[in-house]
């Protein structure tokens, strides 16, 4: 009976996830609690030791002795750096009033004897210092000899607070560095949610809540039924072509009620927390009744060599409808290794709900810009953990030879690739489950994905490759795919070997243009004109919407005769989110509701 109930619940939950409707606050909170129950239900019976199993047992007041035993067992040999710090302090915080004195002592001792690495990326630091801050609050007034780093509780708390405030300041003035990452969203949301719930310092508690709101607002505005849409700083394979596999989608399920039900470990601690998503952000995440354009400014991760500017700007452009979203970054190297410069994502055809393209570039120069090890050996360092980096068939990564120009639901992508570059081709991903993929005599490739239609006009000759293999999907120690999959059976790769290259993308929904036949017919009468010689790559194009786009590689973008100046892009600019560069203040608006996150004053105004 219990099993039948669970199955029924699961079916209901699946249906709820697939067809999310806007609900009022009371209903939202009730459904949220149901999702919390679903997320945590598995963990209090799992017998494999794990911090989430421990945390849920403490919270559910169930098998405390088992939780204690697991905690002590795991702390015999702590590993995982900041990926240990966050779950272990989270488990401690939810269970500290229930665990035995012996377990408490074991936890305390771990912070004395195990020295975690601080890491080398923004998410590592966010987790490291959030966990250190919370631990220093929990274990106050201890001398340096009682901490792994030789610093006292006060020193650790102060240093962690300083860094976190610094991170919040740059994020709310010039943008997040590791921005909009479907894979790394949890590494920011989790620590901020823990601060929101557990920080004793009122300022840090408020800041934790505000930053969680900020992150969710940033996600909500580029969210479509569980998918993160647009350009990203970092994404892994296979989530890049199976969007709902990304950890951010688990957060969408828990907080927006969208996507697919999951009890992913990433959302266990958030599910146990007191943080609740503000209604205004929830509404923005799920209301797709009106199409909108949203622009953002982010920043490049710290450039430590081969560049004069530490954090050059990233300009994002997203066009969002109820059926699809198309978004892009301006192109170039904006993040090492896992950049996703542009993509269309839509509702139809899970799991392959996307079409995108890239120049699969890699170089010592690229990674040397961001990592301090020797340029000559950095690629080997990177490949140890990001196995696809130097694979010419990879599906992630930016390129210095790629630039975009987007206006509404039209996108132009141009390439002027230097001869001798690591890869001398560009690729496009077309999923196998498209209803139509027509290579039209007009030159357009015309695709139908349910009610979303995508046109792709290649500017150069190309060929099609059907992908052939599907390696296993095991996970490594930190929950990432062990063998990052390069190829998926049956999907289609458009490949072009011309160095001066590009394409034009047009996306329309049935609501926007009517029938697929009309879309095809419209495309046939809109053919781009390109100049493609080394050092002179440009295209002139009249869009289906009647606009005239001229784009000359790398940076000359003209719309209806007027030059586009990307440097004027605001931190957030759209119907829902607004913030000026440097402001430290985000205004979140939904219809008549407003939420202002003022980080200068550390104050939320409703």
């Amino acid at each position: 009976m219990k099993q039948v109930t669970f199955v029924l619940f699961l079916i209901l939950a699946v249906c709820a996830g697939a067809y999310a409707q806007i609900v009022n606050r009371e209903t939202y909170l009730k459904e949220f609690e149901k999702r919390v129950a679903f997320v945590t239900s598995v963990y209090d019976t799992l017998q494999t030791p794990g911090y989430y199993q421990i945390a849920v047992r403490y919270t559910h007041n169930k098998e405390i002795a088992v939780a204690d035993r697991m905690f002590k067992e795991l702390l015999r040999d702590p590993r995982g750096d900041m990926f240990w710090m966050i779950p272990s302090i989270g488990a401690y915080l939810v269970g500290k009033d229930k665990m035995s004195a012996e377990t408490k002592a074991v936890v305390r001792n771990a912070w004395k004897t195990y020295a975690p690495y601080r890491g080398d990326t923004e998410n590592h630091w966010c987790m490291y210092y959030s966990a250190l801050f919370l631990a220093a609050e929990q274990f106050p007034n201890l001398p340096g000899s009682e901490w792994y780093n030789g610093k006292s509780s006060d020193e650790n708390r102060q240093e962690a607070k300083e860094y976190l405030i610094h991170w919040m300041k740059i994020t709310t003035t010039i943008g997040q560095g590791e921005f909009d990452s479907p894979d790394y969203f949890p590494e920011y949301a989790m620590p901020m949610i823990l601060l929101s719930h557990f920080a004793e310092d009122p300022e840090m508690k408020t800041r934790g809540t505000m930053m969680t709101d900020f992150l969710f607002a940033d996600f909500a505005v580029e969210h479509l039924e569980g998918q993160y849409i647009g350009g990203y700083s970092r994404i892994y394979q296979p989530a890049v072509y199976k969007p709902l596999l990304s950890p951010a989608s688990a957060f969408a399920y828990l907080y927006f009620g969208t996507g697919e039900p999951t009890n992913s470990g990433w959302i266990v601690l958030p599910a146990l927390s007191t943080y609740r998503l503000p209604e205004v952000i929830y509404n923005i995440a799920v209301d797709r009744s009106k199409t909108y354009i949203h622009k953002e400014r982010k920043r490049v991760r710290n450039v430590i060599r081969f560049g004069s500017e530490k954090n050059p700007p990233v300009y994002k452009y997203s066009y969002v409808t109820k059926d699809y979203g198309i978004g892009s970054l301006q192109g170039g190297i904006l993040q090492p290794i896992q950049q996703h410069t542009w993509g269309v994502r839509y509702l139809y055809g899970r799991p392959y709900t996307t079409i995108f393209g890239l120049h699969p570039y890699w170089s010592g120069w690229e990674v040397g810009m961001f990592f301090p090890e020797e340029v000559k050996t950095l690629i080997a360092d990177v490949v140890a953990s990001k196995g696809t980096y130097n694979n010419p068939d990879k599906w992630t990564g930016g390129s210095p030879f790629e630039r975009t120009f987007q206006h509404k639901n039209t996108l132009i992508v141009l390439y002027d690739i230097k001869p001798g570059t690591t890869t001398e081709h560009i690729d496009g991903f077309f999923p196998r489950n498209l209803e139509e993929r027509i290579v039209d005599p007009s030159g357009w490739i015309i695709c139908k994905a349910g009610d979303t239609y995508v046109g792709w006009y290649p500017l150069q000759e190309h060929e099609w490759k059907e992908e052939l293999e599907t390696p296993s999907n095991s996970l490594n120690d930190i929950g990432r795919p062990q063998l990052e999959r390069v190829k998926e059976m049956g999907n289609w790769r458009l490949r072009s070997y011309k160095l001066q290259n590009g394409y034009v993308i047009e996306v329309r929904s049935k609501d926007e243009i009517g029938s697929f036949d009309r879309f095809k017919s419209e495309l046939r009468s809109h053919v781009p004109k390109a100049t493609l010689t080394p050092g002179s790559v440009s295209v002139r194009y009249g869009t289906l919407g009647g606009d005239k786009m001229n784009f000359a590689f790398p940076e000359k973008r003209t719309l209806n005769g007027k030059e586009i100046d990307l440097s004027k892009t605001r931190l957030f600019d759209g119907p829902f989110l607004n913030a000026a560069v440097g402001s430290e203040k985000l205004t979140i608006t939904y219809k008549t509701k407003k939420l202002i996150l003022d980080f200068k004053a550390v104050k939320v105004i409703e």
Binding site: D81, M82, R118, D120, E374, S385, D477
Partner: protein, 335 residues
Amino acid sequence: MKSIFSLLFAGLLIVVVPAELFSQVSTVYASVLSTKLFVVGAANPETGLYYQRSSEDTVWHHMGAKNIREFGVAVHTPSRGQLICLASGNGVHMTTDGGSTWRITTGWQITEVLAVTIDDANPNFMLCGTPYGVFRTLDRGTTWVECNNGIAQKFTSSVIIDHSNSSILYCSTEDGVYRSQNRGDTWKRTGLNVGGVRVVVQSPKDPDVLIAGTDDDGIYVTRNGGRYWEKSEAGLDHLTFFTITFDPVNPKILYAGGYMTGVYKSIDGGVSWTRKNVGLSNLNLHSIAVDPTNSNRVFAGTQWGGVFRSDDGGDTWRNAGLSGSQVWQITVQPF
């Protein structure tokens, strides 16, 4: 009578020789950045600072924190290793009791420290080099301040405090070698007009002699404190050099290594070089050190191949442990 003197002399030898041998004991420190398996957050194999109590020893012992992305090590020789600093991803770690206890002396502002050095005469004065430039402490790590005034490209991979005058400093950066005459308050670029300088070292005898190794331009030598540099080309078949070291006793002898170079040796102060790779099964070098108590004993740290050792001045090499390790720096101390 003669036989009595012979016996007395023999007795003296018995007393004196063991004492000399004892004084020649040295300690080798190896800074291991990673193994090939390193992934942040994963169950990585142990890395960090290793040492051998005597260069005759074959066992490596670990000291300090593990898996902190340790790039470099500075050992304060006069304190016989009581004061040690580590350059690491987490900042500058320091022990003042020979490794029993450690403290990270830097805060969040200083990260990915690639090199650290201690003024032997005044151990309160230390420098570290990072991708964000040079930082200095004058109070043995209690406070660190940024000192990059005059440096254009801040990425700094090595730092030197002049052993004859600690007001004079050198550092190697992405746009050359810089010199300071006021303990880092201001810097001026030296006459070396090449970028991507990976390492700069100073002669143990003549402070005006410095040698620099670069990413793509080979090796350069100055004999006037950096005013003029000459490219050292004779015998060199490679261009990428991460490590150069002087024989502490005879600075005419030098060793150099880098990306797939193996070991190069010079016996004329860097004018010409000869490859010395017999027995060296990994040619991708990142560190070389000469035992100050025995110039024939040389250690070479490789990238992911552990440590190699020569007992004949580089003529032949044999594996000396830490297999699979990326050995970023080695230092041999005379105690």
